[in-house]
Amino acid sequence: MSETPEAAGPLVPAVPTSSPAAGRVLPPDAAEASPAGPGDGRERPRLGRLLIESIVEGNSIVVTILAIVVAIVVGGLLIAFTDPVVLHVWGSFFAEPGTAIATAWDSAFGAYNAMFQGSIFNPHTVAAIFQQKSLGVAFSDGTVSQVFNPISETAVNATPLILAGLAVALAFRAGLFNIGAQSQFIGGALVCTYLGFGVSLPPVIHTVVCVLGAFVGGAVIGWLTGLLKATTGAHEVIVTIMLNYVLADFLSWILGTSAMQRPGRSDLISPLIASDAHLPLLLGSHLRVNAGFLLALACAVGVWWLLTRSTVGFEFRSVGANASASRSAGMSVSRTWILVMLISGGLAGLAASTVIQGTDFTLTFQSYGTYGIDAITVALLGRARPLGVVLAALLFGALHAGGIAMQASTSTPETITTVIQSLVVLFVAAPPLIRGLFRMHKATGRDAGQSLAKGWNG
């Protein structure tokens, strides 16, 4: 209730340009912040103050970047001090403190370096080109493509996150907390997959029909939530959580029936969708990046336009800022809620389309993964703004892509990315904490009023 569109307006979307920095800059802090370096505590505030005086005072961009830094440092500590090798060396810390710190540093740096190589750039791939006979061979056998594979994987991982994140962000702007991106994803995935293998259409048309089907499938589920809220006052948080379970159970049921199960299989998996329905690849057959990424970016622009340039979008934001004032001003709050949830659900459905038609080409009982919750973290980190959502999704996409590569090449489990992800959002959501940590002095009322979701009575 407290914030107005104006108050929310000037917040510049966070610019987490630092995803490459993940592997580079941070591990020093990880090692330094360990108990070995007590002197650092005094160094930091001065650095922090300099930072503040040079840039504006602790604005949201600075806070976001620092939050990412802190999360990565904490993640590094966690990686280092759960590593059996490190723990073994630290057992005899006082005998060889230098070795102990170096081992901890190597553990954290090794993990982050692998993550960086899996998500941004891997120097070995460039070296591989020169081992080919000629550049022509390197192009044709995919060695050149390998150089861009990490970036491609980041984009592929970010694509559904952008769309699902937009879904949650759009609902946030209208004062609704959509925890149900998972159910809407499943709704979209079901329609999309069914159209993908069940009907035969000419190439381009088939792709478009499946994408639209995914939008409709997600939109129906979202619409149901909005309708229940508007007509009966059922709180959308509860309804969306429950729909997540209902749809997940429905999915695992229908995948076991003759309607959706792949013939000849006993596990829960759908037939492959027709190749006509695939989203076209963007950079050749060796890289997975596909038109879904462009679709996601286009949707981000669309949502930006909707929110800032259209009457409907103004109503969304107005209802989100103050529903009773909007009602008094003659807007239909019920209609707005239903429409917002419909579009929001549709966007989450599109996320399913990019997964089914872009990378997986089939539907399993766990295709929905953790997109529902990831979408919330993306929307929060992106401060419910389209550009912010895109950047946040790219960051988390890079974390995912890098995490998989890291697990393959080091002993660090991929699940660390979830921890880092939640820490980033936690710290971003608490600017006073970050300011306190870096001794920044700026306390505006905005910190308190930056409420995105409404409580039970809201």
């Binding site: 966690l78 759960t82 059996p84 907390f177 925890i179 229940l228 007509t231 009966t232 006052g233 059922a234 709180h235 948080v237 509860i238 309804v239 959580i241 429950m242 729909l243 379970y245 209902v246 159970d249 429905f250 695992s252 049921w253 076991g256 009773s324 009602r327 008094s328 709050v333 019920s334 919750i373 919330i376 973290t377 929060l380 489990p413 699940t415 660390i416 990315t417 979830t418 921890v419 880092i420 992800q421 939640s422 820490l423 959002v425 936690l426 959501a429 608490a430 006073p432 904490l433 910190d447 308190a448 930056q450 409420s451 995105l452 979701a453 409404k454 409580g455 039970w456 009575n457 809201g458």
Partner: protein, 423 residues
């Protein structure tokens, strides 16, 4: 509330009444058409005592089709009553209970006809209580927290962290009671994070809860991969609590085996339930907690420490939820596996709202969820021709219907989710 709002409110009330009534009639029709017409010929047998019980109760046999028809008729009558006769809140709640009971009875009769052995009502109820323990404790945690004005969506994370810590502690030290204590403390640890970020740093509490759940899932998942998998034997193989029969009370037919022959967790749940109910509604401390949750400024004016009270309640809630988490590992599963809480925290949250932020209401809702979970597993063992996934959906669909239509507009504590800032 201005005059402008009234039309919507009125419409909402009528809509809700219609939703409730049509749900009743729908249940009735399912009773009659689904379970009555398609019933196999014969009696459904229900057993009320266990083997080797000192006092036995005879089995009950009910004609399946006739029972279903009667149940359906009662439900439809209740639905029609709801449309045409204005009734009070008590009658409304009783009617919900009656319709649900009729539905379950018809379902059980339909499923049980022609089975070789009678359906054990004792086992069904025992399983219900077992399945409800984490839900009840989670909902109690939420109740303590939200009554003081802090929204607690992090119940799921508290259960998960409690389960994780309990498994490790019990396994490492070889003492179950240590697992219980450490699990409880782990729940409080996450609650402390919730409290500090919500009260000190004024983070949006709904958002915060979801983020803490992700954090708990990520942290336990990571540590599981890193430590519990390689050191399975030392860190993740606790023993489990065994059932303890309470002398005398445990020998009462039907009630005894259900209520007084279980693990220590059920008894802890009884105690906590009573403590929270009495504490919140009959003590000076409870009055303060509720005052802080309803109108913090007024409470502050009369000298109640608002923030201190909130910290205390949130931490207490964390301790309670941690016990619920410990139940998952050292009370039932026997070891920790990633995401072992599997959404129970969210169900507990729904139970809390369903139960209108009261311990007893939450108990009723949690039992309902526990019952459907148990019913699903019982029905899947007697080969009912309903897919188990569809049965699994039932509690969630029931919650949606309940939140949308049956319960009516619930009212959270007035200051729930609003940080208190002294300006």
């Amino acid at each position: 509330m201005t005059a402008l709002v009234v039309p919507t409110g009125l419409r909402t009330r009528i809509d809700r009444q219609l939703v409730a009534a049509s749900a009743f009639v729908l249940f009735g029709l399912i009773d009659i058409v689904g379970f009555g017409l398609y019933a196999k010929h014969g009696d459904a047998q229900f057993a009320f005592s266990q083997e080797f019980a000192k006092v036995t109760v005879p089995n009950l046999g009910l004609p399946a089709a006739a029972t279903a028809y009667v149940c359906g008729a009662i439900s439809i009558a209740a639905g029609l009553l709801r449309v045409f006769v204005p009734v009070g809140a008590v009658v409304r709640r009783v009617s919900i209970g009656v319709v649900l009971f009729a539905f379950v009875l018809a379902l059980l009769c339909w499923a049980d006809v022609g089975q070789s052995s009678p359906l054990s009502v004792i086992n069904l109820l025992q399983g219900t209580l077992e399945a409800s323990i984490p839900l009840i404790l989670g909902a109690l945690a939420g109740c303590l927290c939200e009554r003081s004005g802090v929204i607690n969506i992090a119940i799921e994370g508290q259960l998960l962290l409690g389960a994780f810590a309990a498994a490790i502690a019990a396994s490492f030290f070889g003492a179950l009671w240590l697992g219980l204590v450490v699990g409880s403390l782990a729940g409080a640890l996450l609650a402390a994070l919730l409290a500090v970020f919500a009260i000190r740093y004024l983070v949006d509490q709904v958002v915060l809860g979801v983020v803490l759940n992700v954090f708990a899932a990520g942290l336990t998942g990571f540590l599981y991969d890193r430590a519990l998998v390689p050191y399975q034997n030392t860190l993740n193989s606790p023993s489990t609590y065994l059932p303890v029969k309470i002398p005398l009370l445990g020998d009462i037919p039907i009630i005894g085996p259900v209520l007084f022959d279980s693990t220590v967790f059920l008894y802890i749940t009884y105690v906590l339930l009573i403590l929270v109910q009495v504490g919140l509604f009959s003590t000076r401390w409870g009055l303060r907690v509720r005052a802080v949750g309803e109108h913090p400024m007024a409470a502050d004016t009369v000298g109640i420490r608002v923030l201190g009270t909130r910290y205390g309640s949130v931490l207490l809630g964390g301790l309670v939820a941690g016990i619920g988490g410990a139940y998952l590992t050292i009370g039932s599963a026997g070891n920790f596996s990633p995401n072992i809480s599997s959404g129970m925290g969210y169900i507990a949250l729904a139970a809390l709202i369903f139960g209108r932020w009261t311990p007893l209401g939450a108990l009723a809702a949690a039992l309902l969820f526990g019952f459907t979970t148990e019913l699903q597993s019982v029905l899947s063992t007697i080969n009912v021709p309903i897919p188990s996934d569809i049965l699994l959906m039932a509690p969630y669909v029931a919650t949606i219907i309940a939140v949308a239509g049956l319960v009516g507009r619930v009212r959270a504590p007035a200051a729930d989710g609003k940080p208190y800032i002294v300006s």
